[in-house]
Amino acid sequence: MSQAAYKPHYEHLKNKWLDQQKELQKGLVEKHKDAFDWIKNTAKHFAVGSLGSLVLLTHPVTTSVISQQLHSPMQKKQVAFADTLSQDAFTPKTKLILSLSDVLPEDVRELTIEQEEKIGGILSQQFGMNISAELDGKKLNRSYGIIGAEQHLMRYPGDTMASHFQTAEEANTFYSSGMAPGRGAWGYFAQSAGAMTQQDIDREKYYIAVQTFLAPGFQENVREHYAFYKYRKMLVVNPENGKAVVAVIGDAGPAAWTGKHLGGSPEVMIHLERKDGRARGSVLYFFIDDPDDTIPLGPVEPKTLYAKT
């Protein structure tokens, strides 16, 4: 059996460059520790890339070196992150993703009031609307949660999958999502096919189901909450890619035991790019204050809403 020949020149160079790699990686992470700590904690909000593109890990030893560095306590140092993002060098979507990643917690959990206020401010600024987690003294059980895919809703008595789509393209894309057997929490969107308006069509197309029944104060005053939440406009944002949709609350759900916090219509899910194999993922959902009903439903880009309308 042949044995690989020992090559001193190869071994020498390999060892030298491996040692150099260790030193360079350690030095890099130590020297710019605050920034690497931050990116490690926020990386999970990003849809693409990996930490490997920042610090290339090609050897087991180096992995532990980086891990050791990254797990040391974060320095309490004031940084001008928001100042940097305020510059014109970035596209609105990049600004949105990065701004949100600076505020969002590491895992998907209920936001604090301070976090909700900060995010409401970011979204208001980026989308040119008044956006907040609380409106008219009412708020949902949460504003950041896991969204799951819902089915189409019957818009009027007799609406079926055969009558539901306006174009063949729509049917091709969305037929497979199916239709929920019952009506939504607010009943039919219209009383008949003939009475259905574009607003009704859009409301069903861009609806979300939220856990209204878990909202603070709901059980104490069901009628008032029912009226408030019915077709209430919300901005739903995928913080990983900056995709956003103006939607209405069109149904109540999902049940708490599902592990999901809200549901999205097939059209909402596909735009947010949450329609993957598991058809679920984290989103922000905040109220839009639109008393005159001027903001159209559907996909929306940062800083472009008013230009479109």
Partner: protein, 111 residues
């Protein structure tokens, strides 16, 4: 060998390293391993050069953009924040690549 498409690839040419390694009479897997180490070390050196030029907030944005592999926005940031960024990166890379060639030359003496 899989190559990372780094934001500086249009200004940093590393072909000479591969040619230098060819002269060492290595097995393909040995050459691949050394080339990858050389590229990684160059990458860390360039990252340090850029990060050292940036303020703390800018560093975070830069790392996030590198994570996104968003080359356009990286260069927008660098052009805005770092004077002569391209030149600085090129100079760092040239110096480091020269050092790699010296290491290869030294390896020839170990045969």
């Amino acid at each position: 060998m899989p190559k990372h498409n780094h934001f500086y690839h249009h200004i940093v040419i590393i072909d000479s390293i591969h040619i230098g390694l060819d002269s060492l009479e290595l097995e393909p897997h040995e050459k691949e391993e050394l080339a990858m180490l050389a590229e990684n070390n160059l990458h860390h050196t360039i990252m340090d050069t850029v990060l050292s030029e940036l303020e703390e907030g800018d560093k975070k944005v830069f790392l996030a953009l590198v994570l996104h592999n968003n080359h356009n926005e990286i260069w927008k940031l660098l052009s805005f924040k770092v004077r002569d960024a391209e030149e600085k990166i090129k100079k760092t890379a040239e110096k480091f690549i020269k050092q790699l060639h010296d290491d290869i030359k030294e390896a020839h003496t170990k045969k």
